[in-house]
């Protein structure tokens, strides 16, 4: 019993100190934004390796998720003779939920883990210390550009995911199952609301991008500087990002769509 309490106490304390360090790290990262904006080259390079290199996985996954939505939606809707609303169903699911959430999960797996490993290894091989000794702040030079790049890439990737998904639904619904093309698109246009659906979806993806990138960078920066430490940190990035994304999605959905 005492041991359980001790264990709980210790875990809580460790958790809170880590949260404190993480917050301090985030503040330092944010304070570097001005200096990064003066050197857009750093940001562009990171946008490329974080954003552009995630294109393939996002496009392929988006396509398949959209196609599956088309199939499943069609089976259910056709029972009620409501096949024409397939476009609404596919687009709303994607824009509101699946686009931001699934692309953020993929982002955590593809870019987040890579960020953690990269930063963790830089720490383990003393590259970060070396930079400090050269009077270059590793947070400003290494962390902030990656943070901004993650923040900016996530909404774009989510939008890409949703767009490709809608096309996938279109391919299956119209091409394969014979839903009326005019109805598919016009229903979608009529029922999707810019404010409620699109903006809220974008807000979600910005929040997810923020949290995922923060977790990935901090886990790398805070990793125990050994191979094992880095590998554990990478795992934690993926797991903690997934939990945060799903938990935050529930909260955000309740706040955004609660009163409809």
């Amino acid at each position: 019993m005492i041991e359980l309490l001790q264990y709980l106490g210790k875990t809580t304390r460790v958790g809170f100190t880590k949260l404190g360090r993480g917050t301090y790290f985030l503040l330092q990262t944010i304070s570097g934004i001005a200096s990064v904006l003066l050197r857009p080259r750093l940001l562009i390079n990171q946008m490329y390796s974080i954003g552009v290199l995630s294109f393939l996985i996002i496009i392929i996954s988006g396509l398949f998720v959209g196609m599956v939505l088309g199939l499943q939606g069609y089976y259910i809707l056709s029972d009620f003779g409501a096949e024409e609303t397939l476009g609404v169903m596919v687009a709303a699911s994607l824009v509101r939920e699946l686009g931001p959430v699934v692309s953020a999960l993929l982002f955590a797996g593809r870019a987040g883990s890579a960020l953690t490993a990269e930063i963790g290894l830089m720490k383990a091989t003393e590259q970060l210390s070396g930079m400090e000794m050269m009077a270059v702040d590793p947070i400003k030079r290494i962390i902030t550009p990656r943070f901004l790049a993650g923040l900016l890439s996530m909404p774009l990737l989510a939008a890409l995911f949703s767009t490709v998904g809608i096309l996938g639904g279109d391919m299956v619904g119209i091409g394969l199952l014979g839903v009326d093309e005019g109805a598919y698109w016009s229903q979608m246009q009529a029922k999707l609301d810019f404010q409620d659906d699109i903006i809220n979806g974008v807000i979600k993806s910005i929040v997810f991008g923020f949290v995922t990138t923060w977790i990935a960078l901090f886990e790398g920066y805070d990793a125990i500087p050994t191979s094992e430490g880095v590998s554990r940190a990478t795992t934690r990035t993926v797991v903690n990002s997934a939990f945060s994304i799903l938990g935050l999605d529930f909260i955000l959905t309740a706040l955004m769509f609660g009163d409809n």
Partner: protein, 275 residues
């Protein structure tokens, strides 16, 4: 202890420094002086805290007690911006090289110049090639760090450390991993950098021969204390058994090769326990 080496001409002075890692006391009230324009070596067994001392001087670690002044400034009282200004005038050669792995040798050496100066690319090119020439690796400029041997990486790191023409250089084990020819060249380079540029050098090493050949002054540290100090010839003649053992490399003597442990026979016989 002898804490009164206080020389008015010292660039770096360490006063009554104490530092621990966990429960292990790495430095216990140690005082050292590093004179301007001289090569001062710190020697001691592996794990005594030589790298730790360099990190303390560079302001990356904070002492528990005591102070470190570099060029009249107390390193651990400086504000961040001031510390960074000071660090621009200190070059540090890491034990591992610590090259940035995502850029070529050329870009690594150019890194401090690009970060801290507004020189044109053609001036940077000239400077980088000069520094690479000095370490004999001008031809390796297009290689990536993963294509270098350990010894080459360290020489590139040295080129990078001198890129900004610092007032002093901290060398962490510069001689390890060098073949006899580059070793000779490196010893010569360190000496000539020191003499021609008027640099102050601090060398951490346990290569007795190379270090004694170029150092003006040597501190021997062990178990948190300064065991002996003096010019190389004074140290060679030291009456202390400890110093003699260290300088000649005998396996037996007051210094133990083993990390503290319980009795060997007991340890082997206490089977069944997994530690």
């Amino acid at each position: 202890m002898d804490n009164s080496v206080n020389s008015p001409n010292s660039l770096v002075s360490v006063r009554n420094l104490s530092f621990s890692r966990g429960n292990k006391k790495i430095f216990n009230n140690i005082s050292l002086d590093f004179e301007r324009g001289k090569i001062t070596a710190i020697m001691g067994p592996s794990g005594t805290g030589k790298t730790t001392l360099l990190k303390l001087i560079g302001g990356q670690l904070i002492p528990e007690q005591g102070s470190i002044t570099v060029d009249g400034q107390n390193v651990h009282k400086l504000r961040r911006a001031e510390l960074y200004t000071l660090r621009k005038r200190m070059g540090m050669l890491f034990q591992s090289g610590a090259l940035l792995t995502d850029m070529s040798v050329f870009d690594n050496v150019a890194f401090p110049l690009r970060e801290h100066t507004s020189l044109t690319e053609s001036m940077i090119r000239t400077l980088v090639l000069m520094k690479l020439q000095a370490v004999g690796l001008r031809g390796a400029r297009n290689l990536m760090p993963n294509e270098l041997s350990g010894g080459m990486a360290r020489r590139i790191a040295l080129a990078r450390a001198i890129a900004l023409d610092p007032m002093m250089i901290l060398y962490d084990e510069p001689f390890t991993g060098q073949d006899p020819i580059s070793l000779g060249a490196l010893v010569h380079l360190i000496k000539s950098l020191n003499n021609t540029l008027g640099l102050t050098s601090i060398i951490v090493s346990h290569d007795v021969r190379e270090t004694s050949a170029i150092a003006d002054y040597i501190y021997l540290i062990s178990e948190g204390r300064c065991v002996d100090h003096g010019t190389p010839s004074q140290i060679q003649k030291s009456a202390s058994e400890w110093v003699q053992q260290f300088m000649t490399g005998a396996a037996d003597g007051p210094v133990h090769f083993h990390y503290p442990a319980k009795d060997y026979a007991d340890d082997l016989l206490s089977s069944g326990k997994r530690y």
